[in-house]
C-alpha cells in the first residue's frame, strides 16, 4: 500500500474513526431526549485527526484537549461507558459527573483532563512534556486545539517555551476555519498557522486533515522527533465541522456558514475517503464495514445502557473533590 501505511494500520485508523463517528451520531440522536444535560461540541467530520495522531501514541503518553474532545478521548482509548456516563451526568462517568462533555478525563489512558477555555490546554501540554523530560520516562505530550486557540497568548507562550527547552510535545491544530461562527479570516491575517512554527524555531507542517493517511504520516515524524529529543512540532490539519459549534443540529440553514462550503467538505468525508481506499485495495469489503458498524453499535448500546442505569452523584457530595 502507498504512503508507507500497511493495511492493518489503515484498518485500525478506519475503525477508530468509525467508533468516533458512530458515538457522535448516537449523541445526535439521543440529545433531543434532553437527558444528556450538558453542552456537546461534536467533532463529526474531523475524526481523521484524532485517529491519525493517537494511533502513534502509547497508553502512557499524554493528550490534552478542548471543549471538542470526544474524538480525541475515544482515539486515546477512553471507554465508551465512562464517556457516555459523563455526558449523562452520572457518578460512573469519567469525571464522576462533575465535568460533563467539556471536561473529560482518563488518567490511566494518558488523559489528565480537557479544558474548555480556548488555548488553555496548550501550556499545560508543554508542562506535561517538561515532566516527561525531567523524569526521563520517554513519554510525549500532544495538545489538540482549534484554529481559534492560535490567537491566544497561551499559544505563543507555550510554543516559545517548548522550543526553548526542546520539549517532547506536539501541537496539533485542528483548523476547521471557524471559531464559533467567526471565520478564520475575520480573526487572523492570512498566514498559514503552520508557518508560525518557524518563528519559534520548530518544524511546522500543514495539510489535509480529512486524509487520515496524511495525518498519520505527518504525525509519525513529529512523534519520532519528540521521542528522540528533537523537540516540538506544530501540525496544522485542515478540516471541517459538520454540526453547529455546539449541539447536535446543523447551523447551515441558520446562515452561520455557506451551504456550498459545507457540501464540499461533506463530499470529502474522512471515513468515506479511507473506507473507499480500503475497499479499492481489497483490504475491506462493504460487508466487513457493516459487521464492524454492527459491533461498534452494540458497544455503544451497552455504553448508553450502562450510563442510563448508573446513579447520579449524591447531593451530599457537592463539596467532594474540590481539594
Amino acid at each position: 500500500m502507498t504512503d508507507g501505511i500497511d493495511k492493518e494500520t489503515l484498518f485500525r485508523l478506519f475503525e477508530t474513526m468509525l467508533r468516533i463517528r458512530l458515538f457522535e451520531d448516537r449523541v445526535v440522536r439521543l440529545y433531543p431526549g434532553q437527558e444528556m444535560k450538558c453542552p456537546v461540541h461534536l467533532c463529526i467530520g474531523q475524526e481523521a485527526i484524532a485517529a491519525g495522531v493517537c494511533l502513534h501514541l502509547k497508553k502512557e503518553d499524554y493528550i490534552f484537549s478542548t471543549h471538542r474532545s470526544h474524538g480525541h478521548c475515544i482515539a486515546k482509548g477512553m471507554g465508551l461507558r465512562p464517556l457516555a456516563a459523563e455526558l449523562y451526568g452520572r457518578s460512573t462517568g469519567c469525571s464522576r459527573g462533575r465535568g460533563g462533555s467539556m471536561h473529560l478525563t482518563d488518567p490511566e489512558n494518558g488523559i489528565p483532563g480537557t479544558t474548555a477555555i480556548v488555548g488553555g490546554c496548550i501550556p499545560i501540554a508543554v508542562g506535561a512534556a517538561l515532566s516527561a523530560q525531567m523524569k526521563r520516562n520517554g513519554r510525549i505530550a500532544v495538545a489538540f486545539f482549534g484554529d481559534g486557540a492560535v490567537e491566544e497568548g497561551t499559544f505563543h507562550e507555550g510554543l516559545n517555551y517548548a522550543s526553548l527547552r526542546r520539549l517532547p510535545v506536539i501541537f496539533v491544530c485542528e483548523n476547521n476555519f471557524y471559531a464559533t461562527n467567526s471565520p478564520q479570516k475575520a480573526r487572523q491575517p492570512e498566514v498559514n498557522i503552520a508557518d508560525r512554527a518557524a518563528g519559534y524555531g520548530m518544524p511546522g507542517v500543514a495539510g489535509d486533515g480529512n486524509d487520515v493517511m496524511f495525518v498519520h504520516d505527518s504525525c509519525r515524524e513529529a512523534v519520532e522527533r519528540a521521542r528522540s529529543g528533537g523537540g516540538p512540532t506544530l501540525l496544522e490539519f485542515r478540516t471541517y465541522r459538520w454540526k453547529a459549534h455546539v449541539g447536535p443540529d446543523s447551523d447551515i440553514a441558520a446562515g452561520c456558514r455557506p451551504a456550498a462550503e459545507y457540501e464540499e467538505w461533506v463530499r470529502r468525508c474522512p471515513l468515506e475517503l479511507c473506507g473507499q481506499r480500503l475497499i479499492k485495495e481489497k483490504a475491506l469489503t462493504e460487508d466487513d464495514i457493516d459487521r464492524l458498524t454492527g459491533s461498534i453499535e452494540a458497544e455503544i448500546d451497552d455504553a448508553v445502557e450502562f450510563a442510563m442505569n448508573s446513579p447520579f452523584p449524591q447531593q451530599s457530595e457537592i463539596l467532594d473533590h474540590v481539594y
Binding site: 444535560k37 450538558c38 453542552p39 459523563e86 451526568g89 452520572r90 457518578s91 462517568g93 469525571s95 459527573g97 462533575r98 465535568g99 460533563g100 462533555s101 467539556m102 471536561h103 479544558t115 474548555a116 477555555i117 480556548v118 488555548g119 481559534g148 486557540a149 490567537e151 491566544e152 497568548g153 471559531a179 464559533t180 461562527n181 467567526s182 475575520a186 480573526r187 487572523q188 441558520a254 446562515g255 452561520c256 447520579f312 452523584p313 449524591q314 447531593q315 457530595e317 457537592i318 463539596l319 474540590v322
Partner: protein
Amino acid sequence: MPWTRIQADDSRRPGIFRSSHAVREISYRDAIREALSQALSMDPDVFLIGEGIDDPGGVFGTTKGLREVFGSERVMDSPIAENGMTGVAIGAAVAGMRPVLIHMRVDFLPMSMDQLINHAAKWSYMTGGRVKAPLTIRAIIGRGWGSAAQHSQSLQALFAHIPGLRVLMPASPYDAKGLLLGSIASDSPTVVIEHRWLYDQKEGVPEEAYIIPAGRGTIRREGTDISIVASSYMVYEALRAADELGKKGISAEVVDLRSVFPLDEELIIASVRKTGRLIVADTGWRSCGVSAEVAAVAAEKAHAGLKAPVRRICLPPAPTPASPALEQAYYPTFQQIAAAAGEIL
C-alpha cells in the same frame, strides 16, 4: 461630549419595575441592545468589539443587527485573545475612544486580568488623573444545562476588589439600559455583569437615553421585618422569598444593589436600621465575596440597629458541577432565603 446632555436618574427609584402604562415594555435583552444602539448613534467615539458579536446570534440578541446599522468598523468581531484585546480596548480608550468590549461569559475574563487589573484599573491613578480609560466591559453569567466549572462562574467579587474598576449588575431591563449607558458615559473602566437568565425579563423602559450612575442601589419592595439585599438574578429569588414570607405575615424589604462597586452603603444602612435583620443573597461564592462586603457594611455602620446575626445565601464553596443532580443542589433558591429568614426572626 454628547453625554452631558443625557438625563441622569440618580433617584434610587426602582425604575418602572412593575410597569407604568405610559412606557412601552421591552426585554432586558432589547434594553441592552437599545442602549448600545443609542450610544453608537450619539457618540462617534463609541465602538463595540468582542468575539462573535456580529454573528447571527448576536450575543444572545443584544448586538443583533447593530453591525448592519453601524458598520463593521464600529461593531467588530475579535480574535480569541482576551488579554491582548483588553489591552487594545484600553489603548483605544486612553487615545480618545469609548470602547465596549463584550464577552459571552464572565469566565473568559480571567484571561484578561493582567490588562484589567494592572492596566485599566490603574491608568487614571498612575497618570495622576490626567489620562482616563473610559472602557466598558460587558460580561455574562451563564448557568444551567451542565455549563460546568468553566462556563458558569459569578466573578463579580474579583473585580470589585480592585480600586479603579466599577462593577455593575443590573437585574431589570430599566437598570440594564441605564447602567450600561452610564458606564459608557463614564470615564472610568466599568465591568457590567449581566445574567443570562434575565434576558427575557420585561418591564417598561423609556425610549430616550438615560443614565443610572454607579453606586445607587434601589428598593425593589418595601418591608419592615427583615432586609434581603441581593443583586442580579438573586433579586428575583429574593422577591419570591419575600412573597413566601409575606404569606406568613413577615414583611421583607428587598434591596437591589445594582452596583457592586461602589456599594450604595447609605441604602443598605437605612434598610438595616429600619428592619434590624439582614440576609444577603449573591450569585457568587461566600468567601471574600459581595455578601461579605455587604455584611461588613452592616456590622461597621449599622451595628446598633441589628437585632440578629446576618445570614448569607451564596454558592457552596465548590466549582460548578456538570451533573444535573448536583446542579440542583448547587444553586440556592428563594426557599433557602426564606428558611434563613426563619432562623433569625
